[in-house]
């Protein structure tokens, strides 16, 4: 993959608003953002009710994903362009999710909703209607999804990239600062994980930095390009943003997103946890 076939500009989207082969989908952390205004023709996906199993903590399964996209009028041959607020956090998460289920042509709007708004481009509250389709998904591509045991085994072996803010990494905050801080799990990070906040990959307007800048940021943080990589955050959406940077923009092989992330890891019994700004070592078990 590369920047050219995984990202589109706001101008490209504006030029393709009437292109029937393109489906625009808004995915926001704030699931009411779409209702206040969205790009013309865009449909909405609700990450919390439509992309998550409503009983277990897991994704919807293949059949549920097929039923969801069929009902939304998304076909296998459509070019899916995702965008959202918070610098595409949840749009990047949906991108990763569409890739997990093997959608052929999926792209992110560079800069997401914020870039579109800061450009003063048009938003509408008109909700489009689309004919239903008969969508067919692939089995999950587990080469891009990491689970907890694999993550524990990666300590001191693979690149672990903690993409949360420095204060969350060090254990001074338990959640991003726009959310309440009271949480059940322990604070800190996985020993040996490099801290590269996802936001370092984005400009203030939400667009991605240049390839050279991105390579430098991860190299300086200690990412070894010859090793496999697992990215994690708190619940797996910000790390989708970093997965997108490493895998789709920079073309790095063997990059996984650990979607269990800190809300799972920080609740596990007996695993090593490192506190403070230092990465911690594999030998001391982070104690």
């Amino acid at each position: 993959m590369s920047r050219e076939n995984s990202l589109v500009t706001a101008q490209w989207v504006e030029d393709n608003l009437d292109n029937a082969d393109v489906v625009l989908i808004e995915v926001d952390e704030d699931t009411t953002a779409y209702d206040k205004g969205h790009i013309r023709g865009a449909i909405k996906l609700d990450w919390s009710t439509e992309l998550q199993d409503q009983v277990r903590r897991d994704f919807v399964n293949k059949q549920q994903f097929e039923a969801l996209l069929s009902s939304k009028g998304v076909g296998n041959d459509h070019t899916v362009v995702l965008y959202g607020g918070n610098n595409n956090w949840f749009a990047a998460y949906a991108y990763w999710y569409f890739t997990l289920y093997g959608h052929a042509d999926v792209k992110l709007l560079d800069g997401g909703r914020k870039k579109w708004e800061l450009d003063s481009r048009e938003l509408t509250d008109e909700v489009p209607t689309r004919d239903t389709t008969s969508y067919s998904a692939q089995e999950q591509d587990l080469s891009i999804r990491a689970f907890r045991d694999e993550t524990v085994e990666a300590i001191g072996v693979k690149n672990l990239v903690d993409v949360r803010s420095p204060d969350e990494y060090a254990g001074r905050l338990l959640a991003p600062a726009h959310l309440p801080q009271e949480q059940a799990q322990r604070a800190g990070h996985i020993p040996t994980a490099a801290n590269v906040p996802w936001s370092k990959a984005a400009n203030d307007d939400g667009t991605f930095r240049s390839d050279d800048e991105l390579k430098q940021i991860y190299s300086e943080a200690g990412v070894d390009w010859s090793k496999d990589t697992i990215a994690y955050c708190r619940i797996g959406e910000r790390s989708s943003h970093t997965w997108f940077v490493l895998k789709e923009i920079l073309g790095q092989q063997n990059v996984k997103n650990y979607d269990g992330s800190w809300t799972e890891y920080g609740s596990l019994v007996g695993v090593p946890v490192a506190l403070g700004d230092e990465a911690g070592s594999a030998d001391e078990g982070g104690k």
């Binding site: 704030d30 953002a33 206040k36 607020g85 918070n86 610098n87 914020k114 708004e117 800061l118 450009d119 003063s120 803010s165 420095p166 204060d167 001074r172 905050l173 959640a175 991003p176 600062a177 726009h178 959310l179 309440p180 801080q181 009271e182 906040p197 936001s199 370092k200 203030d204 307007d205």
Partner: protein
């Protein structure tokens, strides 16, 4: 937006005793700006969180003890930075004029 509530986002449902709240309102020539983005930067200037303002121009963060910077982005406006000190158990109200 005339008649909109000024400042003072409601704290209903927020456990102020356990949180270091930073909140406020973004205005342009006295009118609330409902399509701005406020970024919370830590003491080193590193990004920590970002929220869009609501229709009354209001925003809120749950920070930690210490010094923070609020960077406000809005259409047709240069970014505005403002320092704020947060402390657990208190609410720091910030008025931002762009």
């Amino acid at each position: 937006m005339c008649g909109a509530t000024e400042g003072g986002l409601s704290l209903d449902g927020v456990n102020v005793a356990k949180e270091a709240v930073v909140q406020g309102q973004v205005t342009r020539e006295g009118e609330p700006v409902g399509n701005a983005y406020v970024r919370l930067l830590d003491r080193t200037g590193e990004f920590t969180a970002e929220v869009p303002t609501n229709e009354h121009g209001q925003f809120r963060f749950f920070a930690g003890d210490g010094e923070w910077t609020l960077r406000t982005l809005a259409p047709k406006s240069e970014p505005v930075d403002q320092r704020v000190v947060a402390a657990r158990g208190s609410v720091a109200e910030v008025a931002i004029a762009i």
